[in-house]
Symmetry: D2
Subunit: 296 residues, 4 copies
Amino acid sequence: SASKPKKTTQLKQMLTSNNLEFLMEAHNGLSAKIVEEAGFKGIWGSGLSISASLGVRDSNEASYTQVLEVLEYMSDATTIPILLDGDTGYGNFNNARRLVTKLEQRGVAGVCMEDKTFPKTNSLLDGRAQPLADIEEFSGKIRACKDTQKDADFCVVARVEAFIAGWPLEEALRRAEAYHKAGADAVLIHSKKKDPSDIEAFMKAWNNRAPVVIVPTNYYTTPTDRFRELGISTIIWANHNMRTAISSMQATTKQIFQDQSLKNVETKIATVKEVFRLQNDQELTKAEDKYLPKEK
Amino acid sequence: SASKPKKTTQLKQMLTSNNLEFLMEAHNGLSAKIVEEAGFKGIWGSGLSISASLGVRDSNEASYTQVLEVLEYMSDATTIPILLDGDTGYGNFNNARRLVTKLEQRGVAGVCMEDKTFPKTNSLLDGRAQPLADIEEFSGKIRACKDTQKDADFCVVARVEAFIAGWPLEEALRRAEAYHKAGADAVLIHSKKKDPSDIEAFMKAWNNRAPVVIVPTNYYTTPTDRFRELGISTIIWANHNMRTAISSMQATTKQIFQDQSLKNVETKIATVKEVFRLQNDQELTKAEDKYLPKEK
Amino acid sequence: SASKPKKTTQLKQMLTSNNLEFLMEAHNGLSAKIVEEAGFKGIWGSGLSISASLGVRDSNEASYTQVLEVLEYMSDATTIPILLDGDTGYGNFNNARRLVTKLEQRGVAGVCMEDKTFPKTNSLLDGRAQPLADIEEFSGKIRACKDTQKDADFCVVARVEAFIAGWPLEEALRRAEAYHKAGADAVLIHSKKKDPSDIEAFMKAWNNRAPVVIVPTNYYTTPTDRFRELGISTIIWANHNMRTAISSMQATTKQIFQDQSLKNVETKIATVKEVFRLQNDQELTKAEDKYLPKEK
Amino acid sequence: SASKPKKTTQLKQMLTSNNLEFLMEAHNGLSAKIVEEAGFKGIWGSGLSISASLGVRDSNEASYTQVLEVLEYMSDATTIPILLDGDTGYGNFNNARRLVTKLEQRGVAGVCMEDKTFPKTNSLLDGRAQPLADIEEFSGKIRACKDTQKDADFCVVARVEAFIAGWPLEEALRRAEAYHKAGADAVLIHSKKKDPSDIEAFMKAWNNRAPVVIVPTNYYTTPTDRFRELGISTIIWANHNMRTAISSMQATTKQIFQDQSLKNVETKIATVKEVFRLQNDQELTKAEDKYLPKEK
Ligand SMILES: [Mg+2]
Ligand SMILES: [Mg+2]
Ligand SMILES: [Mg+2]
Ligand SMILES: [Mg+2]
């Protein structure tokens, strides 16, 4: 790992490479490590997953420092880059640029900010108002973040919520262009349609002016090769670790409750030894040998 | 829920009832809510699971205030009592009694403390020294906690690690008796044998002087009725939500990585709507109707 | 102290009593204790002082949980009520009501919220825009807070920034009335004039509909009896502990720097023994005697 | 500041220079900034002052992450190096080395650790047991910290408590030598005598094997030139900002309480404008001009 580029550089390379790249969701140190061990090159620090796992709502109920603490655990547990779902930056440009500083200190490689207002509402919630930020205000936020970062490779991704809020392609393009001019390293075009038509329309018109990131949670049936053809830079698998954790915990908890026993569960779940391995307990054993006095 | 007893009272009743009761592990707000929804009457705030999910080791790498923050999320998300695995109390009697105050403020119903030294080592780790606390010192810690609690029903459980550390029954009994005299509401007798012989021997000699709690992680094949016969008060299913989350996240992450697609995963995991339900999003929608100005 | 009313009740009584009452600023556990020892009946948890002492700006740079942690130290160190300067509630009604829950858990007696937008700007900063909140939106926030509190005596004070933002008396009255109807336990009328004319005009028109709190930082030359005549409920001395700490630390630091010695400083500052006394070290000594094993 | 060396390098140079250097205590972002503005080249993050200002005792009542948060504010507010009073490292070698990682992330330049046991007792408290750490155990802790730091100039200072605990010179030398061999960048020799005899005896025997740091809180009458002659590397003025803040806040609070008025206080304390200046409010004004949309 001595020869591996910095996490920021790794993320920047993913965004700018000609290959389609993938970020997999994690929401705590454990899931982050699992993502790395599976072979993924980067991690998506999902706002929905982090809030859901903490037990709060994806409406900025957790403070930005509480989210930051989750990110610190995730970053400490892994060697691949993390792109944080930074919502709206937790306030105005000043809150957003402070976040960038704090993320850099903790080894987080980049942040994605969306052009909505604080406190945010999850984009996939039906029947909710999704007020967009003023373009100039949000562009100023992106500029402030880019001016603040100390590491030139730290990535700021601007998330365009125009489609989510019911606006046509023109508004999405206008915003993407403004954020690109403001310095965003990539734009994330979000859509909650079941098909990729929003993304296709955007990509046709966008003409590769800057890397584009997508989140196919709702249009997951589209073959990935279609996104390759369209020239997408990076796909985010946005919340699936948290969702699989939910279904498995619900099933396991129900089974133990009904059985009043572990017998039907024990062989289906990770062993305690596997937990210790994931915690890298072996390193501590070696360190104890090295740094603790020998028992006399 | 208006007529439900306080969480502390609920836990006290579980410990002192004549029925065998069960506490199910949780490690964040999400898993805590899942435990409550499954029908369990109480939650075990596992040190191993909390540390593993954060991405650190079960060796007091997370500070006591970091653990406390996890507990606050868990307590806020649920209406059933939580018994925290409080390790050694994170220091001496003064640290332990401060913890009690902080737990009471956050609505945590009780704490279990073990007679080892800070920083602790997980009891199931092989080949590690498991130095026990001085009996008098640990008894003073229990007394300090009991003297500190403001709510008379807050529960302090004393965990006896004598068997874990390789001592015979006499040592376990001597310690259980001392901690009982010091005011512990129950004793937790820990064993890492594959069979229940430690527990059986203890229960025969103990003669029901105080409620006994057990953690059958290693001797899980013993039928639960055997523990009923022995007069056990409460069984802790100690880490199975975290372990099932691990195996499911590993499988799901691997599948998505291999497929470069969500298609084989989507139908097997909780829906996004289910995530919103677990976050109690409906309450927020209603509250927005009630407290936000109507769109004009 | 067993017979003392709850902190919330103490604060409620201060706000509703016929006497003019005083809240003195504190910004950490130490200054809070000093305020109590001086004889004050209540503490003002100043946003300006807390942010300044942390080293950040009074523009919601510290997250609400970071502020909460300061308040927890202050509350733990004292037995008199604290009214938190809660700025705008750190977001919308949902953020504000969550804050109320968190404050109640930590023994804070009340919160003051101001009708501005997040992130806030300090009211005494010259030449800054001071955009006011929509009246209906802010009234909804107050209602949400009052509906959320569990302790009937927890106090929510609504701070009217109309004068600060350059609006005339009518706007101040309209807002005060709306917030009073929304359930505020008192209104805080803020003014940055050097004379009390804003306050006098308001009090004449207000006619004692609800308790009024003032902050005479800028109009400090007005005799306190004048505020008694006007029927003010409570005066906040808003930031003077932090300001005296600044001037004394600047002087002491400069002296030591110049002298390269402590000789001109030692006798003018609190002794180390006094520090230990303020930390209540004596209680710990007694507790050690009670709970630690005797040295053998 | 572009040409200024890193904070770690600055501290390393202070410790290794041939001049007598000075570190001045600070305990929050505000006092840290005051120390820098006075001209000091470095800051002492005092455990006593930090705990006292928070409102807790110097007995590891605040968790290491709570202390870390104070340090982060201090580091963010200043450009000169901070040496943290890291007590015993908050546990064993593993806790200590984790602390080093966290301090490096936050831009803290070094940590001082003392050879006592967790939780610690303040060295100046009379009549308390001051149990020393096992030499081999503490040396292992120092080695672990030095092996963990990523920045070669991060400083680990080993504090020798032998004199505090009543041991003779030989023990102090034996320990200083062991910690020096373990890799400590400097040793801090602590003494609570009113005269410098402990320090003099040590310096004579030590013969400049490694830089020596002292804390003349109790022997403050010794002329500083005497320490120059002895070859001391660095003097720590350990708690005087907190102590001057106490006396000034006590006086100001008392005055306001008695007067029920600010009139006798206003002209003696820092102005509100000075508070804004210390918060660097001007930078925010400029940034608002740069990043916020113009009012239309
Ligand atoms: Mg999100
Ligand atoms: Mg445990
Ligand atoms: Mg304020
Ligand atoms: Mg100290």
